[in-house]
Amino acid sequence: MGREILNMSRITKIYPNGVMANKDVSLSVEEGEIHALMGENGAGKSTLMKILFGIEAYDEGRITFDGRDLVHAASAAVIKSGIGMVHQHFMLVDSLRVYENIILGLEPVKGPVINAARAIAETRALGERYNLKVDPLARVEDISVGLKQKVELLKVLLRGARLLILDEPTAVLTPQETEELFGQLLLLKKNNHTIIFISHKIREVMKICDRVTVLRAGRNVGALKVAQTCPEEISRLMVGRDVVLKLDKRPRREGPPLLEARGLSLTNRFGKATLKKVDFQLRSGQILGVAGVEGNGQNELAEAIFGLARGAEGQVLVKGRDILGLSIRRIRDLGLSYIPEDRLTLGLAAAGSVWQNLIPDRADSPALKTWGFLSLRKIARHAGELIEAFNILCRGPDQEAGLLSGGNMQKVVVARELSADPDVLIANQPTRGIDVGANEFIWKKIVEMRDAGKAILLVSADLNEILELSDSILVMCEGEAAAYFEDAAAVTEEELGLRMLGYKSKEAAAHGQK
C-alpha cells in the first residue's frame, strides 16, 4: 500500500439536462486499498464512477490510472487498462446462462463457434480462485440477487481488472451474503487488487474500508482515514448533521387484525413450491418484520398478498374479507399499498416524468381533476408537495424519472405508496439504496403510520432494519414460516440469523440439527 494508483483531479460533469452532478471533484486511491465513496442520494457518486469507467463524458478534469493518462478514454480502453465496474443496477442478460454472461465480448472461439466447454471451465476456475462459486450453466433470470452479484464480480475479474468499482454492492444483499462478499473483497485486497466501494451503510465502511472520500451535492467535502474517524464524523460530513439510526418507539397499541394469511401457498412457473402454507396475523398498530435469507419466499409472500403472483392458494383476509384473486385495483381500494422490491421493474417507469410516476395509482382521483379532465396544475401541485416532503432531488416534476439517482428513484416510489395513505402497507425493501438521512425519514414515517393505527408488513434483507422497526418478526425459510417472535425486542440478531438458516434453536445449531 501507499503508491497512488488512481488520481481523478478536479472533475466537473454537467448532464445534458443541465444537472451539475460533479463539480471540481478529486479522488485519490492507493494501490491495494479498499476506498469508500460516500454521500447522500444524488451526491454524484455513480456519476463519478461512470466517468472513471468511461461511460459518461466529463467537461473538465483529468484522470490518471497507474501512471497513465486516461483522458476521455472510451470504456473499452479503460477495461483494458485494468479497471472493472459492477453497476448499481445490474447489467446482465437475463435470458443467457451465467457463463455466457461472463464471457460476453471475450468469447473463446473454436473456429466460428464459441468454445463453450472452455468458457465453462474458465468460469469455474475463476470462481474457485476467488471463492465466488456459481453454477456456470444456470440461467441468470433464475438465480438470486446475491448470485447475480457474484456473476458481475466474475465478469470484471475475468477481464483482468486490478481496480474494481463496486456501486452499492451490498444494497441488495442479506447480512450473510454481505459477510461473504466482504470475505471475497478482503481476499481480493490480499491479492493486491484495489477496490472502490460505494455504500450508504457507515457500519460496512467502518468495517472493511481503509479510507473514505465523501461527496456532497457534487463536491468533495472530505477524505479521511477510516481508522482515524468515527461514524458520527462521516455522517456529519455527508448530511451536515448527526444522524443516528435509532428509533424512539412508543410502546405498541395494537388493535384488531387488519391482514391475515391462512395457509398461503404458491408454486412458481418452474413447479417449485415457493410458499408453503404460511399463516400469520397483522394487527392495526403493528409492524411485522419478515426476515429470511434471500430467496426463501419473502418476496413471494409480499407479491402473493398484493395480487402480483398468479395462482396463490389459501386465504388472505383484509378486514375479514378474502382478497386472493381480486384485481390490484380492488386490493388497493381496500386500503393496501405496496413498495416493490425492484424499483426499475415494478416501481417506476423510467421513461416517464417524475409527476407521471407519482400518480399511477390515483389517476382517477377527483382531487387531480377539474371538470373530469386531468388538471396539470393540480397534478403539479401534488407532485411538488411530494417532492418537497420526501426531499426528492430532481429538477422538478417534469424531469424524466430514469435520470434520477438510484436513491431518488426509490424515494419517488416510497413517496407514492406512503402518500396513498393505506391501512396496510406492504413494504418490500423500502430503504434499499437510500442514504442515512432519507433512511431515518422513511423509518419515522413508517413508525408514524403504525402509531396512527395502520398495519405494516416489512420485508427487508437488512436485519438491522428488521430489528429496529419491527414489533414482531416472522422468519421465512424455504417457503415456510419457520419462526414467529411476538416481541421483536426480545430477539437477538444471532438467534434471528440461526432461524433464518433453518435451525430450531441454538443448541440444535451447535449439533448441526435442523
Partner: protein, 355 residues
C-alpha cells in the same frame, strides 16, 4: 434547459433538418435533371402556384392526418403494429356498403356510413390488441396477417356484392349524391373532411394529454408492469386504446370516400397506414403536431408530383426525398454539440448565481 428553450431548440432542430433535407434534394435534382432550376421551382413553388394545386395539398393532408392520429393513439400504449393500414381500407368498404345498400334519409345516411367506417376500423385494430392481451401474440405479426385478410375480404365484398355492372373496373355503385361532403372552395376539392380531421386532432390531444384514460395508456406504454402494480386495468386500457386508434383510421377511410370519391374504386391497400407511421414519427407522437406534419408530407408529395409532370425529374425521386427528410428529422444527433454547449453555459450561469 427549461421548457421554453427546449421547445425553441426542437423547432430549430426541425428547421435545420428540413433545410438539410432540402439541400440534399437539390443535389439529387442537380444530378438527375437537365433543367434543375425549373425542377426546383416547381417542386417548391408548384403547390402554391394555383388555388387548385394548393387545394390538392389540403386534400392529400386529410387522410394523412387521420392515420397519423391513429398511429399516435395505437403506439402510445406501446403496441407497434400496422393494423391502421387494413383498418383504413376495410372502413372504406364498410362505409361504401352502408352508403349504397341502406336507404336512409339524407344526413342520417352519412352519419351511419361514417359510423360504419369507424367501427370497421376499430375492430381491425381491436383484434391484434385483444390477441396481444389475451394470448400474448405479437401485435405486429397479427396485424400484418390481418391486413391481408381485410384486403381480400374487402375486395370480395366489392366485386361480388357492391360492384356496379355498368362499370368496367371493380367499382362499386355510386354513393347517393346527398351523402357527399360539400366542397368548400370552388375550383378545389377541399371539403368538410379536413375539419373533421382537425377536430379529431383536438379530441385525441385532449384524450391523451388531459384525461386519466390517456395518462394510463401512456404509462402502459412506458412500463406495463408498473401500471399493473399501480392498479391500472392494463388489458382493458390497451384494448380500448386500440379500438379508438383503429376507429380514427376507419373514420379517415370513410371521410376520404365521401369527401373525394363518388364511388369505391381502390384496387389494393392505399398505403395511408404506412404514411401514418411517418407522420406520427415526424410529429414525435404528439397529436398536436400531427396536422403540421401531415401538411408537410402532403406538400412534399404534391410538389414532387408537379415537378414530375412539368420537368424531367421522375416522380420516384419523391420517395427518396421523403426518406431523406424523415431520417434527418428523426435523427437525434443533429445539433447535439450545439445543445451541449447551450446546456453547459446555462448550468454554469446557474452555478455562478447560486454561489
Amino acid at each position: 434547459m427549461d421548457k421554453n428553450s427546449r421547445i425553441r431548440f426542437e423547432m430549430l432542430k426541425t428547421a435545420l433538418a428540413v433545410t438539410l433535407a432540402l439541400g440534399l434534394v437539390f443535389v439529387i435534382i442537380l444530378l438527375v435533371s437537365r433543367e434543375p432550376q425549373a425542377a426546383i421551382r416547381s417542386f417548391l413553388g408548384g403547390p402554391l402556384s394555383s388555388l387548385r394545386r394548393f387545394g390538392n395539398v389540403i386534400e392529400a393532408m386529410t387522410p394523412l392526418m387521420f392515420t397519423g392520429l391513429s398511429v399516435t393513439m395505437l403506439y402510445r400504449a406501446g403496441l407497434f403494429n400496422l393494423s391502421m393500414e387494413g383498418g383504413f381500407f376495410i372502413a372504406c368498404v364498410a362505409a361504401t356498403a352502408s352508403a349504397v345498400t341502406l336507404n336512409l334519409p339524407a344526413g342520417l345516411n352519412l352519419l351511419v356510413a361514417l359510423a360504419a367506417g369507424a367501427l370497421a376500423g376499430g375492430v381491425s385494430s381491436l383484434i391484434p390488441g385483444a390477441l396481444k392481451v389475451k394470448c400474448h401474440a405479437n401485435e405486429l405479426v397479427t396485424s400484418l396477417m390481418l391486413n391481408y385478410v381485410l384486403l381480400y375480404l374487402g375486395l370480395y365484398v366489392i366485386v361480388n356484392i357492391l360492384h356496379d355492372p355498368a362499370m368496367s373496373s371493380n367499382y362499386s355503385y355510386a354513393f347517393p349524391s346527398n351523402m357527399l361532403f360539400p366542397r368548400l372552395i370552388p375550383g378545389t376539392r377541399i371539403n368538410a373532411g379536413v375539419f373533421v380531421a382537425l377536430g379529431c386532432a383536438a379530441l385525441v390531444y385532449v384524450l391523451l394529454d388531459r384525461t386519466s384514460f390517456g395518462y394510463k395508456v401512456t404509462m402502459i406504454g412506458h412500463n406495463s408492469r408498473l401500471a399493473e402494480a399501480a392498479g391500472i386495468n392494463v388489458g382493458r386500457t390497451i384494448i380500448l386504446s386500440q379500438l379508438i386508434g383503429g376507429m380514427l383510421a376507419g373514420l379517415g377511410g370513410a371521410v376520404e370516400m365521401f369527401g373525394m370519391y363518388k364511388r369505391f374504386q381502390y384496387q389494393g391497400l392505399p398505403g395511408y397506414g404506412w404514411d401514418g407511421v411517418l407522420i406520427a414519427i415526424v410529429a414525435q407522437f404528439k397529436p398536436q403536431f400531427v396536422p403540421l406534419s401531415a401538411f408537410f408530407l402532403a406538400y412534399l408529395r404534391i410538389g414532387a408530383d408537379i415537378m414530375a409532370r412539368e420537368t424531367d425529374v421522375p416522380s420516384e425521386i419523391v420517395a427518396v426525398i421523403q426518406a431523406v427528410v424523415i431520417v434527418l428529422i428523426s435523427a437525434e444527433a443533429i445539433l447535439k454539440g450545439y445543445q451541449r454547449r447551450l446546456v453547459v453555459r446555462q448550468a454554469r450561469k446557474e452555478e455562478a448565481l447560486n454561489g
